[in-house]
């Protein structure tokens, strides 16, 4: 059977993209050549070593591969020099490395006094290395000059760096991610098969149509502000998704919808989204590119420009959907004073009170992400919301169990969910 040509091209493109991804994976990112000369380090001048004044050496050193990484690093830990006390003789430690036990030791890391570890990030995987740690002193008077002296250091090794397949510290995290993702995918599939999905009403979203209608009646503009973040912020993507639905309504009612943006990539994306929405409603000619225009990347410059537009043009309706910061109230209060009906949605908890005070409707946090699924009415998208709720239930149970365990002092669960390295 002959495959439709479109499908073939699609496969070719997919293969090409996979090749690019493979390239990204295969070619190691730029790393420092371990053999490249190190600049003048902060090492003290050791030419005037006077062993009698040198701090006591470190009693022991442990060298091992840095865990849970993709190689290229060795972790060096040591016991502090007995002379390392607060305000004592030791000013810090130097770590030296050589390729062989008798080879030339070169400085690779340093640490201030009181610190008993350092990481050497400039090694190759699978190669033997030897290390030496010395303690160096504060400045000591030596005739006319002040010098620093350092202790001797024993050689430790060999040690090799290697990469790990899986970061074991994140096992619990992986299990949680897989469980929540699994439940979301399960409900998406269920919805696709035709299972009934109930989603509660979201007031702000139901008001979208009314808000667009009001602008039409008044013969005034609608402003849509998609936040001040770029396309790499999920909130902006959610905002653009809702813009698509608002644009459909605006196209249907033939009302002027204007989208001033603060990021170039958002401008391009918003344009595409609106063009599609107008085409979908059978009015592709009504869309003009200058409906979406760039103002400035600057946070308050952007707020000032929008405030100016609102005061001069007095729009009937203003939408704020995306990531907002301190400019939220500056925008919303001006809109309120201009008498516009305002619908906001953001997942920035600190800006929610401002929007709630100054806008007619506010989508709170996760409602912003649910909004585009809700507005689309598409079962698969609605299914994902249901899966999300299962995740919420899991977290709720974990929190309650954690609280009970901690309160009754039964068992400390916190080490299992490790933060940091």
């Amino acid at each position: 059977m002959k495959r439709p040509p479109q499908k073939t091209t699609r496969r070719i493109v997919l293969l090409a993209l996979l090749a690019i991804a493979a390239f990204a994976l295969a070619v190691p990112a730029q790393t420092t050549d371990p053999s490249e000369p190190v600049a003048d380090t902060l090492l003290p001048d050791t030419s005037a070593i006077t062993p009698s004044q040198a701090p006591a050496p470190v009693p022991s050193v442990t060298v091992k591969d840095n865990p849970n990484d993709n190689g290229g690093a060795i972790r060096i830990t040591w016991e502090l020099s007995p002379a390392d006390t607060a305000g004592g003789l030791v000013a810090g430690y130097n770590v030296y490395r050589a390729d062989s036990e008798t080879g030339e030791f070169r400085p690779v890391a340093d640490a201030p006094s009181g610190t008993a570890f350092a990481t050497d990030n400039r090694v190759e995987n699978g190669k033997d290395y030897y290390y030496k740690v010395t303690a160096y002193s504060q400045y000591i008077d030596a005739g006319e000059d002040k010098v620093q002296v350092q202790s001797s250091g024993q050689v430790y090794g060999p040690v090799q760096a290697s990469w790990q397949v899986f970061n074991m510290d994140r096992l619990i995290c992986l299990i949680l991610v897989l469980t929540v993702s699994g439940s979301i995918i399960h409900f998406i599939r269920k919805a696709r098969r035709g299972g009934a999905i109930y989603v509660r009403k979201i007031g702000g979203i139901d008001a979208v149509e009314e808000a667009v209608g009001r602008a039409t009646e008044m013969g005034k503009k609608i402003f849509y502000i998609p936040g001040i973040q770029d396309m790499n912020d999920v909130q902006t993507i959610a905002g653009i998704a809702i813009l698509g639905r608002v644009a459909e309504k605006a196209a249907e009612y033939e009302t002027w919808l204007e989208v001033p943006v603060s990021k170039s990539l958002v401008m391009v994306t918003a344009r595409e989204t609106m063009k599609e929405a107008y085409a979908k409603m059978g009015r592709p000619d009504n869309f003009q590119e200058n409906q979406v225009h760039y103002l400035t990347d600057d946070q308050f410059g952007y707020a000032a420009a929008i405030d100016g537009m609102v005061v001069r043009e007095k729009p009937a309706t203003i939408f704020y959907m995306g990531a907002f910061f301190a400019e939220s109230l500056i925008l919303a209060e001006t809109g309120n004073a201009a008498g516009a009906i305002q619908i906001a949605g953001t997942a920035m908890p600190s800006q929610l009170p401002f929007f709630i005070a100054a806008c007619d409707f506010t989508l709170i946090g996760e409602e912003l992400f649910a909004a585009s699924a809700y507005l689309s009415g598409e079962p698969r998208q609605l299914g994902s919301l249901k899966g999300q709720d299962v995740g919420k239930a899991i977290f709720l149970i974990l929190i309650i169990v954690g609280i009970i365990f901690a309160t009754l002092n039964i068992y400390d669960l916190s080490p299992y969910i490790k933060v940091g390295q």
Partner: protein, 222 residues
């Protein structure tokens, strides 16, 4: 086709970023994507700049409403760009080279004495708007609103030495400061956490929809 390519790129990049959190070996690939993002974002600045110029010039030539402001925009843009470029190139010629942002350059002067006061003014307006919004909307309409009002009252008066100054005649103990700190540390943190967990799950679900290609409105699809 126009839509499939970005969707596939999104899926691959999304998966690489998610998986590399657990598999350290993929860190390099993730770094490579990060480099690409930096490069694309840097170039995208030009897109915005050209659009701003185009829209402003159009406004001026067609004498649309508010065209005078557009003149200001274009003039400011050209002046700042010219000064930055002049300082940048003349700084390169010096030995050692001097960045256009170093103290003492013309660009730094503009930054300190023009840009800084202008943007600070905008931010400062927040103080005025907070007051007017509070006066208009901060009402004890129901139980929840009353709770919010009381908490706001103590945090506003306790975070600054206001209330503690007033009770100084009775005690030196920073009662209100401690209470405000308690509100921030416990009820506030609890509320923030609840919202954050909800948002995190919302982001996860949204991200999954995007990676799986179900949500495609961001690439112009419906």
């Amino acid at each position: 086709m126009r839509r499939e390519v970005p969707l596939i790129i999104t899926s691959i990049a999304g998966l690489v970023f998610a998986i590399s959190f657990f598999i350290p070996l993929l860190g390099d690939a993730q770094n490579r994507f990060s480099d690409w993002v930096s490069i694309v974002q840097s170039f995208a600045v030009w897109l915005g700049l050209l659009n701003l110029t185009k829209v402003s010039l159009e406004k001026i030539t067609r004498k649309r409403e508010g065209w005078q402001y557009a003149i200001l925009t274009v003039v400011s843009l050209v002046i700042m760009l010219a000064i930055g470029m002049f300082d940048g190139f003349s700084g390169l010629a010096q030995d050692p080279p001097v960045s256009y942002r170093e103290p003492g350059t013309n660009f730094d002067w503009m930054f300190r004495y023009v840009y800084t006061p202008l943007t600070s003014t905008m931010f400062a307006m927040l103080a005025f708007f907070v007051a007017s919004a509070s006066y208009r909307a901060f009402r004890a309409r129901n139980f929840e609103a009353t709770l919010l009002l009381v908490a706001g009252f103590f945090v506003m008066g306790g975070r600054v030495p206001l209330f503690d100054l007033l009770i100084r005649w009775f005690t030196d103990y920073p009662l209100f400061n401690q209470f405000a700190d308690w509100i921030m540390t416990y009820p506030n943190t609890a509320g923030q956490r609840a919202i954050m967990i909800g948002i995190a799950l919302g982001i996860m679900s949204s991200s999954l929809r995007i990676i799986l290609g179900i949500e495609r409105s961001h690439v112009g699809g419906q």
